[in-house]
């Protein structure tokens, strides 16, 4: 039977203040993904291994980890792409580690709420007037930005966030852009205060890695730069026509 060596970064604050690595050699099958390997270890080799997962089909966004240095959804990353080489699994980069492969996502959760990712109306229309209609063209303006599954892989690919956790970051801004571009939404002013602040879009240096690593093909880098263009235009226009339009 063929086997594969999986090396996992582990961390247990009760025994040591520093992470350490541990290697496991487990049976290998061609259809196994990295998450299968971690579950095999947990179930058959070492029950103390701690990792986060749920749907194992690329929808829930829980199982993001670093696989051989790249941020991946482990449920969608096949071992055969590395076999017969070894696989190294680390917790998502740039986040504080709680235990083994489990990171603390509370910073991201706070940021997600901050940008108000829901449709904001200055005045809700009465129910009997029906739903808010939208044309396919209007839908296409924001559709790709709505595919985000909050897996935080873009954050772990972002060196700006790695240096400074006060940066609002790719997914939160992409989601803000998604609602800003929605024809039914009227919350741009409220979101502009957050994304237009110094820790919002302006810290981004357009590395572009967030877009490349996104498993759902969202383009956060574009969302951020487009927001910069829009808010900069507005800023200079408000100088030229301070009395408003």
């Amino acid at each position: 039977m063929s086997t594969i060596k999986i090396t996992v970064t582990r961390y247990n604050p009760e025994t040591s203040s520093e992470p350490f690595t541990q290697s496991y050699t487990i049976p290998y099958k061609e259809d196994m993904v990295v998450l299968d390997a971690l579950n095999y270890i947990k179930n058959h080799v070492d029950g103390t291994l701690t990792h986060r997962w749920s749907c194992r089909m690329g929808v829930c966004g829980s199982c993001g980890m670093m696989v051989n240095g790249d941020a991946k959804l482990t449920c969608a990353t096949f071992l055969r792409d590395y076999y017969p080489g070894e696989v190294q699994v680390d917790p998502l980069a740039h986040f504080p580690v709680i235990r083994d492969l489990v990171i603390d996502m509370s910073d991201f959760m706070d940021k997600l709420l901050e940008i108000k990712p829901w449709i904001i109306r200055s005045e809700e229309k009465p129910l009997e007037e029906g739903e808010y209609l939208q044309s396919p063209d209007e839908l296409n303006l924001y559709k790709q930005f709505s595919m985000c599954i909050n897996c935080m892989i873009c954050y772990s690919a972002c060196p700006v966030y790695g240096h400074d956790q006060s940066f609002l970051g790719p997914a939160a801004i992409a989601l803000a852009h998604r609602y800003n571009m929605d024809s039914r939404d009227e919350g741009q002013d409220q979101r502009a205060e957050i994304i237009g602040s110094h820790e919002g879009i302006w810290e981004c240096t357009f590395v572009g890695e967030c877009t490349r690593v996104c498993p759902e093909h969202v383009d956060p880098a574009a969302a951020i730069q487009r927001s910069k263009v829009q808010l900069t235009k507005e800023y200079f226009l408000s100088w030229m026509w301070p009395w408003g339009n």
């Binding site: 237009g196 900069t232 800023y235 408000s238």
Partner: protein, 118 residues
């Protein structure tokens, strides 16, 4: 129009992109003309001669053009260099780095304006 952005970031980012766009479209030609062109024999030394350049700079439009060609790329440099230093981990020097970078660009702009317009 309501001002929704309360930081000065749009100013710096605006100057950065203006300078980047200007540099992207115009700089390679200028580097060839003032730089390597003469040595490679593509450009006649007469192109940069004193009489020709002083005559051209009588034209106020060309004065403004040369001013922008100096000033905007300086701001482009200032902004990118500032953030390169941040990306290299100099977060603790955030403010001094910003002041120094934009300061250099502003001094350069001021000198260009004094030399070209006065």
């Amino acid at each position: 129009m309501a001002v929704r952005v309360k930081t000065t970031d749009p100013i710096w980012w605006g100057l950065f992109s203006a300078g980047g766009t200007l540099a992207a479209f115009l700089l390679p030609v200028h580097v060839i003309v003032t730089g390597v062109g003469i040595a490679f024999g593509w450009v006649s030394p007469q192109v940069l001669a004193y009489q020709r350049i002083t005559a051209l700079l009588e034209n106020p439009l060309l004065q403004i053009y040369l001013f922008l060609l100096i000033s905007l790329p300086l701001f482009h440099w200032a902004h990118r260099f500032r953030f390169v230093l941040m990306d290299l981990g100099l977060r603790s020097l955030k403010t001094p780095v910003a002041v120094l970078c934009y300061g250099v660009a502003m001094v350069g702009t001021l000198l260009a304006a004094l030399l070209l317009f006065f």
